[in-house]
């Protein structure tokens, strides 16, 4: 038994080494290919300066525009990329290949941005601000997935949970605003959204923990159920009763002093409740999962429920609590769609953000901060696409829209050392 296990481990390690070596070489070739593209496409075809506006009206002190000569910049980036690519062929490069791959992609994106804005001007600060806003529901979606999967409950139903929060938030806030005023009505809507999210978590928990429904089936069913219910009520009732779907929007709160810092201020300190809330939730969840006794227990339940049970941890209760917290986070994130941006519920308005959140979770290796980083990448691409549609580039906007998805595939495939889910992920636990 042990010999077989050792042999398997050796074979596995050898296999992994082989994979890593091959991937390092692939990364090298990809980087060199990118260098050629950057030099030939972005370098040859661009003229003049790309001007990025950094200043906004609220800045405490003036910021000059960032003007970059487009063609020289592309050539510099191409040389750096070629160097990074060539470096992959040196012995011992495997350790840092993922890092350099990430840096290489980032540089390519900046070269692209300079090429697209060459001879024009656009607000970089505005785009970065939009990046943060658009990352919120995705990062929170990833956090929901992390909270659930760390206790071994796969949550495919994030999308539906987001939608339920968006819907409930809008309706409750719309009904209560005439009675209580916008501030209290909005808050009531937010609380209702969080509560309905918690209920959705409880529903998922009951289905998969108590009734041992297949976790993926339960999640798919929750998505379908919430999409059906909210679409039905929207088309059957809300189209004729507009007063039920006219919610206030949480205003941006400027943090004193910090909001005046150029670039950083508009990005992080002139946002509304949802951005600050997301930051707090991600920080506190990281602390909870990795620095508290409760978090350790939760992770134990996700990795080895039998062992956790033997140590006296109530596996079912830990799972219920985490899934419900996850649901509440999803309800909060859902309210972003209505109370945090447009003040109105539309059918299927989450539009796959929950699934992208799921991708962000896996991409971020089941860690809240990792999910946030992945969400920022998605948010950046989203904001970039919008801004570039205004600047007008020769590339069709559909391809810009695809870019983050393709980049995700490339990154997920390129990251060496496979991301590992919690060991008991997706398995129901049956107490003896």
């Amino acid at each position: 038994m042990t010999m077989a296990a050792a042999a398997e481990k050796r074979a596995h390690d050898a296999n992994l080494d082989h994979l890593k070596r091959r991937q390092t070489l692939t990364v090298g070739w990809v980087l060199i290919a990118l260098a050629i593209v950057v030099a030939l496409v972005f370098g040859v075809e661009s003229g003049g300066n790309a001007t990025f506006r950094l200043a906004t009206r609220t800045d405490a002190f003036p910021m000059p525009n960032l003007a970059i000569p487009a063609a020289p910049y592309a050539y510099v980036i191409a040389v750096v990329l070629a160097f990074l690519g060539a470096r992959q062929f040196v012995r011992g490069a495997a350790k840092t290949s993922s890092l350099f791959f990430g840096i290489g992609l980032l540089l390519t994106v900046t070269a692209f941005l300079v090429w697209a804005t060459a001879g024009k001007e656009f607000s970089l600060t505005g785009m970065l601000q939009a990046t943060v806003i658009r990352a919120v529901p995705i990062a929170l979606g990833g956090l929901v997935g992390t909270l659930c999967e760390r206790v071994a409950v796969v949550n495919i139903g994030i999308e539906g949970m987001l939608l339920s929060g968006a819907f409930t938030g809008s309706i409750i806030a719309s009904v209560l605003t005439p009675l209580l005023g916008a501030a209290l009505g909005g808050t009531a809507g937010l609380i209702a959204a969080i509560a309905i999210g918690g209920l959705m978590g409880l529903l998922l928990g009951a289905l998969v923990i108590t009734f041992r429904v297949d976790q993926i089936i339960a999640g798919v069913a929750i998505n379908l159920f919430v999409l059906g219910l909210t679409s039905y009520v929207t088309s059957q009732v809300l189209t004729t009763h507009h007063e039920l779907n006219n919610a206030p929007i949480f205003p941006a709160w400027n943090i004193p002093f910090l909001s005046g810092i150029p670039v950083i201020g508009p990005m992080f300190f002139q946002q509304n409740l949802f951005v600050y809330g997301a930051a707090i939730l991600i920080a506190s969840s990281t602390y909870y999962l990795f620095h508290t006794r409760m978090g350790l227990r939760a992770r134990a339940v996700g990795e080895h429920p039998e062992a956790a049970d033997t140590l006296g941890i109530n596996v079912y209760r830990v799972r219920y609590i985490n899934v419900m917290i996850g649901g509440m986070v999803a309800g909060f994130a859902g309210a972003w769609f209505t109370l945090g941006s447009v003040g109105r519920f539309d059918m299927n308005m989450t539009n796959g953000r929950g699934f992208i959140g799921l991708a962000a979770m896996i991409f971020g290796r089941w860690h809240p901060v990792g999910a946030l980083a992945a969400a920022l990448v998605f948010g950046f691409a989203d904001a970039l696409q919008q801004k570039l549609a205004i600047v007008q580039t020769p590339i069709p906007s559909e391809f810009l829209a695809m870019a983050p998805y393709i980049a995700t595939i490339v990154l997920v495939a390129g990251i060496v050392g496979r991301a590992r889910a919690p060991a008991a992920d997706g398995k129901p636990y049956v107490k003896e």
């Binding site: 994979l19 039905y232 991708a359």
Partner: protein, 380 residues
């Protein structure tokens, strides 16, 4: 140690319980639970209607229209089967993935790509007789879907990239690709500015099956393609060595590897076949129903395919029955919206509830103890 292994196996079985079904015929699992589920889901659908201000008479009208619109006439049955064909095909692809332990969320994208490829062959290739042109268009759709499906399979086998992420991303890429391609001169109908393709030539259209009764009946040979695929998939999964290897890889990947099966190859092949089935679903929608491609031509059949595969427990015959149920609900739902003024979105609620109840036999047993044999708790 052996204690632990035993427990692990039990858990493993529990996990798989709801998806691939057991071989034998179990009346409770295969008849009582589904029938009760449909009834309870319809009752709860009625409650939802009551809560949104629909009175009892209209609920009665709505359900009558739902039933009549699904099975009440030849035209209703034609509509039901027309709606069932693409969703069944897409679901077969998802089910094949489940059998091999792969969660293919990408049926929607594979369906889109298959549909786009078949519409192109359908209008751009001219001068062929129907018995060459139609199979060619179908085959192109299947191959395009297969390539779109094989890509995440290959990425998983080569780099370990999780198929859930890659297939979600490829869905989104496929959607953007549709918006782009339908506006290029390659695809766009001359004289139009919106995203719509040229019309498929008559030689590439799936022939109507019932137009000798009434020319308006839309039922086409796509349902025959779906039935054929049900048969082929059943044979492949349960009667061939390859199918055995697929299922073994799904039930216990390590054991399959130790038995000498090439798990990487299986992953790629299964994803390619799943993509081919979804691609056929897209081709069926284009060549049989619409005759052209627009944005959203799949009508979400790829996503519904996931639900149908789960409901059919990843068994080809179960998938067919679940596909017909979904087709019936869709066809009946349209009638319900027209006749009783209840929006068709109610159908999604009923579908979701049916899935939940079918997947939770323990829940049904707790709610309706009189419908089940008593000693089953031990087996549960």
């Amino acid at each position: 140690m052996s204690e632990y292994i035993k427990q692990e196996t039990v858990t493993e079985q529990e996990t798989k319980l709801a998806r691939p079904s057991a071989a034998g015929f179990d009346v409770e699992q295969l008849v009582i639970v589904p029938v009760l589920s449909v009834v309870v889901a319809m009752l709860l659908g009625g409650v939802v209607m009551l809560l949104t201000g629909v009175d009892f008479t209209r609920i009665g009208q709505a359900y009558t229209a739902l039933f009549l619109g699904a099975f009440g006439s030849i035209s209703a049955i034609s509509e039901t089967l027309t709606a069932a064909a693409p969703v069944t095909l897409a679901a077969l692809g998802v089910a094949l993935g489940f059998r091999a332990g792969l969660f293919n969320i990408g049926a929607e994208g594979q369906m889109i790509v298959g549909g786009l490829a078949s519409v192109y062959v359908g209008f751009a290739v001219t001068g062929l007789p129907i018995f060459i042109h139609l199979p060619l268009a179908l085959l192109t759709g299947a191959v395009a879907g297969a390539l779109w499906g094989a890509l995440p399979g290959w990425l998983k086998a080569a780099t370990g990239a999780h198929e859930v992420i890659t297939t979600i991303m490829l869905n989104l890429v496929a959607m953007q690709l549709t918006t782009y391609l339908l506006r290029t001169p390659l695809m766009q109908r001359p004289g139009r500015t919106d995203a719509i393709s040229q019309n498929v030539l008559p030689t590439a259209q799936l022939p109507k099956l019932l137009d000798w009764i009434d020319p308006t009946l839309r039922l086409n040979a796509g349902i025959l393609v779906a039935l054929a695929m049900v048969g082929i998939l059943y044979w492949l999964l349960f009667r061939t060595t390859v199918g055995f290897e697929f299922r073994a890889a799904g039930l216990n990947p390590s054991a399959a590897r130790y038995a000498g099966m090439r798990s990487s190859l299986i992953t790629v092949v299964v994803m390619a076949l799943a993509g081919a089935l979804a691609g056929l679903a897209g081709a069926n929608q284009i060549l049989g129903v619409l005759g052209r491609a627009t944005i959203g031509f799949t009508a979400g059949a790829g996503f519904n395919g996931i639900a149908v595969a789960l409901l059919g427990r990843s068994h080809p015959v179960g998938v067919l029955l679940a596909g017909i149920l979904f087709g019936a609900l869709e066809a009946g739902g349209r009638q319900m919206q027209v006749a009783a003024g209840v929006r068709i979105d109610l159908i999604s609620i009923i579908q979701a509830l049916i899935i939940i109840f079918v997947a939770a036999p323990l829940l049904m047993r707790a709610a309706f103890p009189w419908a089940f044999r008593k000693n089953l708790k031990a087996r549960g």
